[in-house]
Subunit: 322 residues, 2 copies
Amino acid sequence: MIASCPVVALAGGVGGAKLAVGLAAALPPGALTVIVNTADDLTLHGLHISPDLDTVMYNLAGLSDSGQGWGIKADTTGALDLLGRYGGPTWFRLGDIDMATHIRRTQRLSEGARLTEVTAELCSALNIQARVLPMTDSPVATRVMTPGGELEFQDYFVARGTRPHVTGVRFQGADSAEATPEVFNALREAKTIVYCPSNPIVSLGPILAIKGIREGLREKLHRPRVGVSPIIGGAALRGPAAEMLKSLGHDVSALGAAEILREYLDAFVIDEEDAHLLASFEHSGIRARAAQSVMSDLSSKKRLAQEVLDFAENIRGQASTG
Amino acid sequence: MIASCPVVALAGGVGGAKLAVGLAAALPPGALTVIVNTADDLTLHGLHISPDLDTVMYNLAGLSDSGQGWGIKADTTGALDLLGRYGGPTWFRLGDIDMATHIRRTQRLSEGARLTEVTAELCSALNIQARVLPMTDSPVATRVMTPGGELEFQDYFVARGTRPHVTGVRFQGADSAEATPEVFNALREAKTIVYCPSNPIVSLGPILAIKGIREGLREKLHRPRVGVSPIIGGAALRGPAAEMLKSLGHDVSALGAAEILREYLDAFVIDEEDAHLLASFEHSGIRARAAQSVMSDLSSKKRLAQEVLDFAENIRGQASTG
């Protein structure tokens, strides 16, 4: 297992956070770095909200609501209700305890701290062993093209419940954004790269759009790059990945998801339910393995993480003997 | 009763808020304007907190915790606990629902709204009929001199529990602060002025230190100015008024409190328990009346308000016939 350390995982929201928990449990303390999408970030009520960072943090800290996967367990919404009474928007469901994270982040950013630094402080306070890095400290915003016009990501995702038909996606600010020194170092030192089962278009897509990350992950070093499919049996466990793949002309399958990541990928873990696709993977030149990939509890998260790391060792072994 | 309208009441925290509730109940809708101390305001967690405005608002809206008098009924402190874990200060007890008020105020101020405008918005959202006005939109900060050095007001009041000996008080920024147009208009139109039973030094003191308010309230127009004693039987119902009067060389009594307000005052309502002081009041030339002045429920708040307004009518009658 030590050969696979340090590990860098790329993650979006809930699915990514779950595998991050599994990886943290499977790896030695300090071995895991999670690079997280921030193109979903938004400002509401004057507060800087980083939904994917929060989901990853809360999951790693054991604070998350395991039912919905985001937010804090048993949190209430009294503040949001009163903010609504004051005329503020309530479609983005901020919890009362959760509010502390947004308040603290906003305060520290306004004091001049970088998002990377603030995230490290929050994680340290929550006793998180893994390193959680925002993909960039620069503002990047996912914009979703629909027949009715371009939408902010959270407007599409939460306010409109992913109902609009998606005709395109762009990452505003990605061209001028740069990977942070922390992200550069993590990628340089990484012995294994993991793509969590996050939406390849709007969760991993923005991360791979950042200069420095994109190039770093394209390089075929002796460093296995293993992904996990967010698509099982032609559907996503949560979120709009399936509809999005379809409307953007991709195959709605584990293979379709892998194809999007192709130039950054050595191998892909798919669900047992999709084992019939293994031949197609072989045909398309992407190594694949089938495994139980639904993560319902800590042991299934850890088991999937172990599977990913074993796969990486297997590839590393072949590379060194091949 | 109509003769007493419009009424302007000056208020600090809990005692002031209680009489404001009584006045609002006793007067026709829209007749009451409350000018509130903002020299206790502070910034914590990057949020602009106006404790006295909040106490007056929450009481007028029927949201307040009737036990402690400030904050929102049955509120929890999950956000504050997490802010504490993040390294933020927790000595100032912000409630979860309460947090919405600070978040909204901070947002609107950062957008360029004046504190007066923000307060009007919050009150309107809370269906408050009375007009609640911050004493000024300029920053004014009460500083408390102690043998150990000068302290910020909330540091003295909350963090140190009013334990330090007070050798002096100053209102930083008061010299350059100005009354708002809204305060000017309210004072110009007022037919009755009421000084709520708030600390005369650190609650009413800052309001009376503001240019425009001070001069306006010194004028002896045909407009009764009636105060209510915050001191009953040589003690304050809450807060450090008694200790402060003593250490600053005032008589610790209803008369001592009235003397501080003397140049702004025509008459003073004292508690029945202090009826023996009526002769001293007569001797010192301040009209006084004894009444039940402990406000435990709505009916006692309204009864005291009625007493104050009756006293004002009485003075008005004497002035017009005198």
